[in-house]
Symmetry: C2
Subunit: 676 residues, 2 copies
């Protein structure tokens, strides 16, 4: 018999700590690279014995849904979620009664093909778990309940690509440690357990990974560790990174309930400011549930911990009744409640030597009401992990990893600043009149709300210049020519627009073509391909792509499809009668029997003409080349002749394999097609 | 020990013979009634040991997809299917080479919110089987391989509601009998087995229902039998019904293949007429597959059976190459092939005493190229089974069952006539010039094609006047007032249009509200509800609905939701600010806390204004009431004062239960809301 807990040792490429939204997004992103290279070893651990969360519902923002689409996750999630659609603003009238003063769209029209919606976090995690299992062929599984207890980095080996410089010690937990806590007490009653989760509860049992025992310790030698372990992040604290910011003194209660109320906008998102009783935000959810954020009368004292046990559902409901007056309000079924006070903090650093990263709530905390927490967390690892995947599969230099912090830290800071302003406007008492300087002007509130909505959608993010963002004349080896696509801002996400698939005339969203598989895209806006001069330019560009020295020929490993690392998608500005798909150079632009590479910016039968060229501000005659990163952000806007810039751009960070695919010619493919 | 096969006896409400599309639709429709009344016993048998079909792909027409939506089947099927989008027409040019002469939309713009698409029949059957299992709570399962061998009807008991007048003898088949046959031979090679079907093939084993043995005989006493047993229907032959019509002498080969071709419309639906080598129809399918219908040189002789074994894939491919010339054509992967000659026949009778019905191919056969077979078959039982469900659950008189034949037989005849004309135009040699009277004019062909497309979409069906269709002044106890909804034709399907859900402003398709649960719908186009006079009319209509003598109070069994038999949906013509949902009379129009009953025909944030009133031709001030059948067809158009007509309409065929829900008042619900 062995005395004391067993101790084992192992190594892996990436260890993800925490299986919440940030950790699951990391695992999902890396699944794609594991699919491509099954020798990669990616692990994800969590200290909870199950994914079940109580009540956590979250808004899904436009940009998050766009990213989900490129991971094959959007369709099902959108079908299950509740589209929030409208925001109603209520303010006190002359009698001090709340009254609807405005209705505005929840998603600003035109900013995305997706609308903000709400879905229970447990369902979102379920879709992630299923997708991870499918894409990684079950190679990546969440290991629970497992806790890290020691973390060391051998900085001398940080830049050695082949090294495993991170040593992390894991402990397999006992059943009694792994039950989630709530308000400092064990879960005690049905209130805390959402009845949405029956399916999930089936999985909700304590089971260590096969062959492991409670209290067993495993020392893992990892190439990379990602700390996605939440607001109290053990990884962050172990690294000694500080959260910088402050707490407000406002305290809010939260109810997830099926309401019984005659309030006419109970199924709309609402921002309600009462005269003296505080504010409410309503977030209508799926399946008849409604979430209520209810401002409470109590205040927190700076520097003191609030005794959360003092807040009961009854206290929250009572205050909600006061705010809703003269409308009736009661709860016909209560699913969950909590209380919190708002803290706004962000870390100054997001990584240690680009070997240990932190992401999500581990880096930033803020109020939940703008629905940013889960979204920002997921978008952190969405940003990090394609870079990490390219490094791990030998396609990119480690230098690319520096852009994780340089892109995400400023965004987190901006988020905190936004939240700071927004939450004070929301928690403040409405001004009684223009002379009431202590009160909040409801016009200022509405303005902040509308502005905030654009920010909160995630579509406004614009990453700064860096080796992977060719913007202005700094930070990158090349400069873009913005005038070629006047409405495309380099550093923002490539916005989807409908075009028509040449092969059969079906309207297709360009965004649907950007499946996240680690490939950069060259979107060739080919211009007027029916014009001989322009066709000559197209052919020259295509000849470059097929030549031995093109970025495709150099950076695509031998044996892989030529689309694997850099994919070309052609969008011409002609009708499907003015040119034929066989007119486009083969194989680079029109690979043999591949009918999904050529698109037309023209009228469709059933969904009109989206005028993609005009929308992007691209000349219909001359076109341009838009370089899109694997995460869908615009890297550069170039001319068809700028092939040297393509060389220079990818030359900054890509690794040329010893065996590359090289030049590609397909001499059989010379048939000349008819012209209508 | 028992000598010889065992013999058992049983009874059931409905026995469906055949688990193809018609049979599965019947089972799916009846699942809903089994869900409502689990004492109902519905069985479905099939003589094949598995649902696996080889190669059968079929077009799904607009109206079929609309119906699928109301059964919860459309979203997944549309996501998997291939949208056909465009039809290209090719005809011989002056050199006798084929050349594209036209491109037209495959689905006429504006006729439906769905487009025609194609999906492998095996997948469609899979979705049906899953849905039947879910809705019936696995009470309905396909029993295989089981064959009927005797059928008798005791006509003296046909009109006795409680009787089981049909006696049908079933035999449980041996494994060696149940393998599907193809061309008179057992399946011998991979060619006949689609590689799309790996998932399906797992189910593809011989397994009798539990407790049953090969050659066992079961005598079933059934209230109703539905013969969905295909073109060679045993049920039809046993009843002695005749198929009336003829065969053409054209022979066609069919290939399901991944083509290797430089034909520029290989991913479009195409109708290709060559000068001398015959015609081809292309149907692009899911997953890169393309179906080719290839006219062969051989002709059938009237009255003689064609030796199908003479047609090999090579013969079909060779002929396709000739027709495609000068384009190259070959097959890089062949999934399936067959050959057929066109027969056009229809039975004169669809039922025996409304106790034994036949449906689908058992009633009508025609050419497959217009994609009508599977659609018409499913729509037969879609029509029959809501009626049967209402009779079985005691809600409707047996007289309603007569409308199955009166509605479907004329449609089948029209389909045969259409197919007769269409297939001759398609198989005929193109006219060389206007003087070539033996040839087919390509203009006439295009015209027939476009007309045919409207017909083929299924949206043009208009059922004749009958007790359930109040049209003109015959056949029904009441007359509609068509001028109240100028663009709604009584007897056609209620066309979906976008409206806005009042409670939160979300754009919703009215068609999505017509879930097939056996309920009729009263769509109250409430008109201008902000106007006092009109609101008085609305309130009077609502007071009728809540009164003890309304059709809802009389025909809804006690203990059931007031929506169960006749559901009211309100669509007003105001904005969401001009009226509040609480302004509508409760509980009839706005049941307490039910936020899904009131809709506005107004602008939405993201999807514009669909102008539903104008589209339907309804006066925005006065409105009207549209009565919609459980299958989504318009039964009547009435005025808000026509409550006596509602009484008379439902009085013709509905059964008032002894215990009905009666008047409904909800006196607590009197809160007056604000008006903006």
């Amino acid at each position: 018999m062995v005395q004391g807990p067993r101790h084992i040792e192992s190594s892996c490429d990436v260890l993800i700590v925490g299986a919440g939204p940030a950790g699951l997004m990391a695992a999902r992103m890396l699944s794609e690279f594991v699919r491509q290279d099954p020798s990669l070893k990616v692990r994800i651990i969590d200290k909870r014995s199950t994914k079940v969360y109580n009540g956590q519902a979250d808004g899904l923002q436009c940009r998050t849904l766009e990213s989900f689409k490129n991971l094959g996750l959007a369709d099902q999630i959108v079908a299950e979620a509740n589209d929030m659609c409208t925001i109603a603003l209520y303010n006190p009238d002359e009698n001090g009664h709340i009254r609807r003063t405005d209705r505005i769209p929840d998603t600003l029209p035109g900013i995305s093909r997706y609308h903000q919606c709400v879905l229970h976090q447990g369902r979102i995690e379920r879709h992630f778990l299923d997708s991870i299992a499918e894409v990684s062929d079950t190679r990546i599984k969440v290991e629970r309940p497992v806790q890290p207890q020691k973390l060391e980095l051998d900085e001398s080996k940080a830049e050695d690509n082949s090294a495993y410089p991170v040593k992390i010690e894991l402990r397999y937990m006992r059943e009694d440690e792994s039950v989630p806590l709530q308000f400092g007490h064990k879960v005690e009653n049905g209130l805390f357990r959402s009845n949405l989760q029956t399916q999930e509860e089936e999985d909700s049992h304590y089971a260590l990974p096969e062959g492991m025992e409670p209290d067993m310790v495993e020392t893992v030698h990892a190439k990379y560790v990602i700390g996605c372990d939440g607001g109290h992040s053990w990884v962050r604290r172990t690294l000694g990174f500080n959260m910088i910011g402050e707490q407000t003194d406002y305290i809010w209660g939260v109810l997830d309930a099926v309401p019984a109320s005659n309030f006419p906008d109970i199924r709309s998102r609402c921002a309600i400011h009462s005269a003296d009783s505080g504010s409410i935000m309503i977030i209508p959810r799926e399946d008849g549930l409604v979430r209520f954020y209810v401002q409470l009368q109590a205040r927190a004292k700076q520097g003191e911990r609030v005794d959360r046990t003092a807040f009961t559902p009854e206290v929250v409901i009572e205050n909600a009744k006061k705010i809703f007056h003269p409308y009736s309000f009661d709860v016909s079924r209560l699913d969950w409640f909590t209380a919190y006070h708002i803290g706004q903090r962000v870390t100054d650093k997001f990584s240690k030597n680009e070997r240990i990263f932190i992401a999500g709530d581990a880096c930033h905390t803020h109020s939940p009401k703008a629905g940013q927490g889960m979204n920002t967390s997921m978008m952190d690892t969405y940003n990090l992990c394609w870079k990490l995947g390219l490094v791990l599969t030998g396609r990119a230099e480690r230098s690319i990893l520096k852009t994780y912090e340089s892109e995400r830290q400023p965004f987190a800071q901006a988020l905190i600043d936004f939240d700071h302003q927004f939450s004070r406007l929301f928690s403040g008492r409405p001004a009684k009149d223009v002379a009431d300087e202590m009160g909040v002007s409801m016009d200022a509130f509405k303005e902040a709300f509308v502005k905030g909505n654009k920010f909160a959608s995630g579509t406004a993010i614009c990453y700064d210049a860096s080796p992977i963002v060719a913007k202005g004349d700094k930070g990158c080896a090349i400069t873009s020519t913005p005038s070629l696509a006047k409405n495309i801002e380099v550093g923002t996400r490539f916005e989807s627009r409908q075009v028509v698939r040449h092969s059969e005339g079906l309207p297709i969203e360009l965004g649907d073509l950007l499946y996240m598989n680690g490939a950069f895209r060259l979107i060739l806006f080919a211009g007027n391909a029916a014009d001989c001069t322009q066709m000559a330019r197209i052919q020259k560009f295509a000849a470059y792509l097929d030549s031995a020295n093109s970025v495709i020929s150099k950076y695509t490993p031998a044996g892989q499809h030529r689309n694997a690392t850099i994919e070309t998608i052609t969008v011409h500005s002609n009708t499907r009668e003015e040119v034929e798909m066989h007119d486009f150079p083969a194989p680079s632009l029109f690979p043999k029997y591949d009918y999904d590479k050529i698109y037309a910016d023209c009228e469709s039968w059933h969904k009109g003409h989206a005028h993609a060229y005009d929308h992007y501000g691209i000349d219909r005659q001359k076109g341009c080349v838009v370089v899109v990163r694997p995460d869908g952000y615009v890297a550069a806007v170039l001319d068809l002749e700028d092939t040297d810039k393509l060389d220079a751009y990818f030359g900054q960070f890509m690794v040329a394999p010893k065996n590359a695919v090289g030049a590609n010619q397909d001499p059989d493919w010379t048939f000349k097609t008819q012209r209508a």
